[in-house]
Symmetry: C2
Subunit: 150 residues, 2 copies
DNA sequence: GGCTGAATGTTATGTTATGTCATTCCTCCG
DNA sequence: CGGAGGAATGACATAACATAACATTCAGCC
């Protein structure tokens, strides 16, 4: 198998192949659209862009592709804004840790683990089997803070 | 002012009063409904229950009351299930930390702080001003684990 | 009495997401 | 070759969640 590629779309294709999955043209295009937005983008925004390129597109077309990408860890769903954002480190799936600016809508994914075992401790105490953790931090980003407090 | 009451609904009324707000009959009833569900409940489920009691009820009626309760910290919105759950410690507003069972739908709110400063550190590094933090842990609860692994 | 503001009612619509069945296309196997 | 089977997509309909905008009610107050 070829070496891990530099381009993010090619990386995505490589990752899918490595798992016996296929980044079809449609999925690839959806991924490109999500990637091009530098912030969480709504499913219907993706839909509109697809529709502009190829005529009428129905919601399931978009949701199926997004679900696939989320399933592969290539894209994260951002619950607090009902949007989707490209993962910044998709090689291995992980729970997203996002800082989301309420002012400009941008989001930053943080790779470094921001949990310090307390969640796992608590889960242990509750005898709760963790499957995933949603962590979304809301506030104002650096740029927006500068903009309004000059 | 009277002492802090034992009943959760009375507590809620007391908290609202202390802030110059009013827990009106409608809001009180919505709070009771959310409280009675021992898990996150959807806005439209609340709506159905209200409608059963008082005839036609429109969505804004319910959403306004829920928004008020969320604003007062009496109820948390659970993003990952589009639902609302009564806060277990409403006296002072806080970000919710929830363990949600994907099997039975129950949720448990944890009062103990599960963050260890890493999020704040990261925010500092990003010059990001935190306004709120969404933390929702998904998995299987104790009861459901017992049920399927006897 | 009439002004005011908070709350609620009412109508309509916007936004997000999914269920279901049909169609296409590729692959594998005989 | 030809058909079975599976993955992906297309197409249609509808469900589920949420809000905008304006009307009405009602209590408190001058």
């Amino acid at each position: 198998m070829a070496a891990f590629p530099a381009d993010r779309v090619e990386q995505a294709a490589w990752i899918c192949n490595a798992r016996g999955q296929t980044l079809t043209p449609l999925r690839r295009r959806v991924f490109e659209i999500v990637l091009a937005a530098d912030r969480p983008i709504g499913a219907y925004d993706v839909l509109d862009m697809l529709a502009a390129e190829r005529g009428r597109v129905a919601p399931p077309t978009v949701y199926r592709s997004l679900d696939f990408l989320v399933g592969q860890g290539l894209v994260h769903k951002v619950l607090s804004v009902n949007g989707f954002v490209a993962c910044s480190a998709a090689a291995r799936p992980h729970d997203a840790q996002l800082f989301i600016c309420g002012s400009c809508g941008s989001s930053v994914e943080v790779a470094r683990q921001l949990r310090a075992g307390l969640i796992e401790e608590e889960a242990e105490a509750l005898d709760f089997a963790i499957e995933s953790v949603v962590l979304e931090v809301h506030g104002r980003c650096h740029a927006c803070r500068l903009a309004t407090a000059p």
